[in-house]
């Protein structure tokens, strides 16, 4: 609450309180910067690292839970200020629509690369020796079939809202597979876990950075390499009549923010723009939280200690 009394109290306390690191300059506004958090670990870690850095700079930070796509309404209205992870593969349309309103601003890439594709466990290679070549899929359709989809194979895709064009891909490449969409990623990984416990056949959408490919051994199907024309131009690729006859794109992961916030907290926004992290670091941290059971706070604190010079450079 932005009352005068509170600001005064904060100022007095700040003056009398614990020693403040000398690198921190006076901040432009005491209002808390609201960072959105979603429900997957990677984004939680990214946002907490950014929040920790902003707090070291002297800003007040608040973490607000919001849905991945619905948050754009909040970002445009100024209820929410910064979203740290928009994945090109699933959020591109929503992000472009929002940027077009002029009320949000693109804050640059996080440096991570999103990889997602059809994936199968390593033990399926024995039943289907042609893999990972996508041409082997049709020969092995029965190996991946279930009673409901028989004789077609079964591919479990992500929620419909993730897009991905898997229905179109199966059609364009002439795959003898039925595309089933899980309602949420929780259902997707529940099936994965169940199949791995029984060493049963499964073919599904797996992406990284995420804990699933760290936990289980398997391979991504080798589809024809993605190009922009593949998605736009039907004549491109092995199917002359249909588009989407290739794999999924590698994607950026970008940050996006409320436009007016840049005027309000310019140095904070600059730090957000400077923020970068690699797949390596993110993958290791996600594994520690999701698989080893460490708490996010511990993992973030370790990273902050180990990378002090790096994040100090962002704050300049």
């Amino acid at each position: 609450m932005k009352t005068c009394a509170k600001s005064l109290a904060t100022a007095v306390l700040a003056a009398a309180a614990l020693a403040v690191p000398p690198a921190v300059a006076a901040v432009e506004s005491e209002d808390p910067i609201k960072l959105t958090i979603h429900d997957w670990t990677g984004q939680y870690i990214t946002t907490n690292i950014m929040g920790a850095v902003l707090e070291e700079m002297g800003y007040n930070v608040e973490y607000v839970q919001a849905d991945y796509i619905a948050q754009f309404a909040g970002l445009e209205a100024g209820d929410l200020h910064v979203a740290m992870e928009m994945w090109e593969t699933t959020g591109k349309d929503a992000m472009e629509a929002s940027l077009a309103t002029g009320k949000t601003v693109d804050l640059g890439e996080t440096g991570m690369v999103a990889i997602e594709e059809w994936w199968y466990p390593m033990y399926m290679k024995e039943k289907c020796p042609g893999l990972p070549d996508w041409n082997a899929l049709n020969e092995c359709a029965e190996a991946f079939a279930t009673p409901e989809t028989h004789p077609k194979g079964r591919y479990l895709g992500g929620p419909v809202t993730w897009g991905g064009y898997d229905d179109e891909r199966a059609d364009a490449l002439g795959l003898d597979y039925e595309v089933v969409h899980a309602g949420t990623d929780a259902a997707l990984f529940a099936e994965l876990e169940s199949a791995m416990q029984r060493e049963a056949p499964i073919l599904l959408w797996i992406y990284t950075p995420h804990w699933a490919p760290i936990k289980y051994e398997g391979e991504w199907v080798d589809f024809p390499r993605y190009t922009d024309e593949c998605y736009k131009d039907p004549s491109w690729g092995m199917n002359p009549d249909k588009a989407y006859d290739c794999g999924k794109p590698r994607g950026w992961i970008k940050k996006v923010g409320w436009k007016d916030g840049e005027a309000k907290w310019p140095k904070a926004y600059q730090a957000v723009r400077n923020f970068t992290i690699s797949n390596q670091e993110m993958g290791e941290m996600v594994g520690q939280v999701d698989l080893d059971g460490r708490s996010v706070d511990e993992v973030v604190a370790d990273w902050m200690t180990a990378n002090k010079d790096r994040w100090m450079a962002w704050t300049m």
Partner: protein, 668 residues
């Protein structure tokens, strides 16, 4: 009275034959249209060019409402935002009291002035409440439930959840009471309120979540507002019903004693209706706790968030523990509020004893709180449950699911495949291929049979709405899913209800099981179900059945027990065996009550739809969920209205049938 009665009798004589003819004609038309699909596609599948773009209109309306609606001095959005600001104060106070402690300053410079209520103090205070309300049994239950929260490490999240419940329930109950009183006073208002309440209870929450977010901002307040919207309707209904049921002589007495209208209301009517009003408050509590998971999706945090994140990481054990915490909290609050409602009135005394003798528990609790707050600042074990003493059964649950998965998957798959091919898929295929016009006509004819032209017009137009807005196929898939689930739930629930009605011990055990099934968040068993049965309609059906079997059991047991004792005596005197008594006397008389149970089962099944969308069905629930994630208000509301209309159609038809049956049996 004789002329209409004789006309009814004449109509009744020819009625069955007229309807038989109507159904036969309908069947022939349906077959004809289906066969002539190629020639008359419009009658079989509602053509796209005729779709009414309702969802775009609703979205535009919402955009206008949020951005441009100007009430003169301020915009609509400013008004709702200021309501949100007002609501934030009590919510923050409650959170500081229970969960976070009172602190000054924000962010890193925050300094704690007063810590939150120590865990021991809260447990003992609540136990004292239970003791004063009913006795040692209740005190033990409440203390046990809260102790579970502490011992299993759920305390922090549970306190966040408790804080929002503690604010949402009084607000919801209070608003419900006032609305109910207003509806009781004015018949015109009631006529407006009742369909509105129907909609509020049947439109899936996800459908109005996005407008709430737009209007009230992102955060715990929006979650609380959504919870209040969901949980208030039962209170309104119960208030109106209860006030109307106050015996006429009590009202007469109040008037004779010279009460003004306000005194009559607050000092006579409301106190007399108190037991029923407490049932309403009980419902508000239960529904608020049901909403906990969905509320956490839009920022409420607490136990709902724990359940969600644990299950998304496939930490099934942690999810189960957090889910059980919600269940125990619900049961404790429910029993406490019921006990307070059913407390016998205090005996009247000639001299009023001093305050501290009249309220011994209150004094004790306050003293305890003060003592433990002070002790907590010195002894950390009193303030926060020591982490090292926490235990967890999480691994056990995960291992259990894994064991079932590895050993029984194939058997379960065989059962599932059989059911799929012999029940689910045929019904699905039938409902999605039958011509839409035949279904609309069938629904209208049924309405006419049961309630005349008005009911026929209502049901027919509501069914037409689904076709016109382009949601026909998804609506049929919804009907198929819910229909099959209700069928299975009834097949399981009615026999169990019969058994529970005859055997008291079974009844008590069944009661506990049903309570748990209804309060345990369905997401908790949804994920293990997906692990065992894969994504698809079958998993959705199991989740719905688990949730919706409860009313089938309850109403069956209740109905069979309500059969007047004289009838049973008469049957025994006439020489019936126990089985004959059951099937030929009790069951037919209890049938209306059982049908009400089926009605409730249908309602609950429909409300589970959006949860099952999280599994991966392709029905209206999925539409609403997609609309939520895309922040597309119009799509969500239109799909939500379709769900509500299915609920309303089935509710009206069944209620009309029950009313007729009761009249026939002479029970009304």
């Amino acid at each position: 009275m004789s002329a209409p009665a004789s006309r009814d009798r004449w109509l009744a004589a020819g009625l069955p034959r007229r309807y038989a003819i109507a159904w036969l004609v309908l069947l022939l038309v349906a077959i004809a249209v289906h066969l002539a699909r190629g020639a008359l596609p419009a009658l079989a599948t509602y053509p796209e060019p005729w779709f009414l773009p309702l969802r775009f209109w609703v979205s535009d309306l919402m955009k206008w409402l949020v951005n441009d609606f100007d009430l003169g001095l301020f915009t609509f959005q400013e008004m709702t935002r200021s309501i949100a600001w007002l609501l934030e104060w009590p919510l923050r106070a409650a959170q500081s009291l229970f969960a976070e402690g009172f602190s000054r300053g924000i962010g890193r410079d925050a300094e704690e002035i007063v810590p939150r209520i120590p865990w021991i103090a809260l447990i003992v205070a609540c136990a004292l409440m239970g003791l004063s309300a009913r006795g040692r049994g209740l005190a033990a239950l409440v203390a046990g439930a809260l102790l579970y929260l502490a011992v299993f490490g759920q305390w922090d999240s549970a306190m966040v959840t408790l804080a929002s419940i503690v604010i949402a329930v009084p607000l919801g109950a209070g608003a419900g009471l006032l609305l109910g009183i207003a509806g009781f006073r004015s018949v015109r208002l009631e006529r407006v309120l009742v369909p509105l309440l129907d909609l509020m209870q049947t439109v899936p929450i996800f459908a109005y979540l996005v407008p709430v977010l737009f209007l009230f901002g992102f955060g715990p307040v929006a979650a609380m507002v959504a919870t209040i919207i969901y949980a208030t309707p039962p209170m309104v209904r119960v208030t109106m019903l209860a006030l109307r049921q106050v015996p006429a002589d009590v009202v007469e007495f109040g008037r004779m004693a010279g009460c003004s209208r306000r005194q009559l209301l607050w000092k006579v009517l409301v106190p007399s209706a108190r037991p029923s009003l407490m049932v309403g408050i009980n419902q508000v509590i239960m529904l608020s706790l049901n909403m906990v998971i969905i509320a956490s999706m839009i920022g409420a945090g607490g136990l709902g968030y724990d359940v969600l994140t644990s299950l998304k990481r496939l930490r099934i054990g942690d999810g189960v523990e957090a889910g059980l915490a919600i269940t125990l909290l619900a049961i404790a609050l429910d029993r406490l509020s019921q006990a307070f409602a059913n407390r016998p009135p205090r005996a009247h005394r000639d001299t009023t004893p001093p305050f501290f003798r009249r309220h011994p528990f209150l004094i004790a609790a306050t003293a305890l709180l003060a003592v433990s707050w002070m002790a907590g600042s010195v002894l950390p074990g009193v303030q926060d449950y020591p982490e090292t003493l926490e235990i967890s059964t999480a691994q056990m649950w995960s291992d259990l699911i894994k064991w079932i998965n590895v050993n029984f998957y194939d058997h379960l798959e065989a059962v599932k495949t059989w059911l799929l091919f012999h029940l689910l898929i045929p019904v699905k295929r039938f409902l999605t291929t039958v011509p839409w016009i035949a279904v609309v006509a069938a629904v209208a004819i049924a309405g006419h049979r049961l309630g005349g032209w008005r009911l026929a017009a209502l049901t027919g137009s509501l069914a037409l709405f689904m076709a016109v807005t382009g949601n026909w196929e998804k609506s049929m898939i919804t009907v198929y899913l819910c229909g099959v689930s209700v069928l299975v739930a009834s097949l399981i629930g009615i026999p169990v209800g019969i058994w529970a009605a005859r055997n008291e011990r079974v009844h008590r055990v069944v009661q506990v099981v049903i309570d748990t099934l209804q309060t345990l968040p369905s997401f908790v068993y949804l994920i293990p179900v997906v692990m065992l049965f894969r994504v698809g309609d079958f998993s959705a059906m199991i989740a719905v059945v688990a949730y919706a079997v409860a009313p089938a059991v309850r109403y069956t047991a209740h109905g069979l027990r309500q059969v007047p004792a004289q009838l049973i005596e008469a049957a025994t005197a006439a020489g019936c065996t126990r089985r004959q008594t059951l099937w030929k006397v009790q069951f037919p008389i209890a049938l209306p009550e059982i049908m009400l149970g089926i009605n409730q089962t249908i309602m609950l099944a429909l409300s589970m739809l959006v949860i099952t969308a999280l599994v991966g069905t392709r029905d209206l629930g999925q539409e609403v969920y997609i609309a939520l994630t895309k922040a597309d208000t119009g799509r969500g509301i239109v799909a939500g209205l379709c769900v509500a209309f299915i609920a309303i159609i089935s509710d009206r038809l069944i209620s009309a049938w029950v009313r007729r049956k009761k009249r026939e049996l002479g029970l009304e």
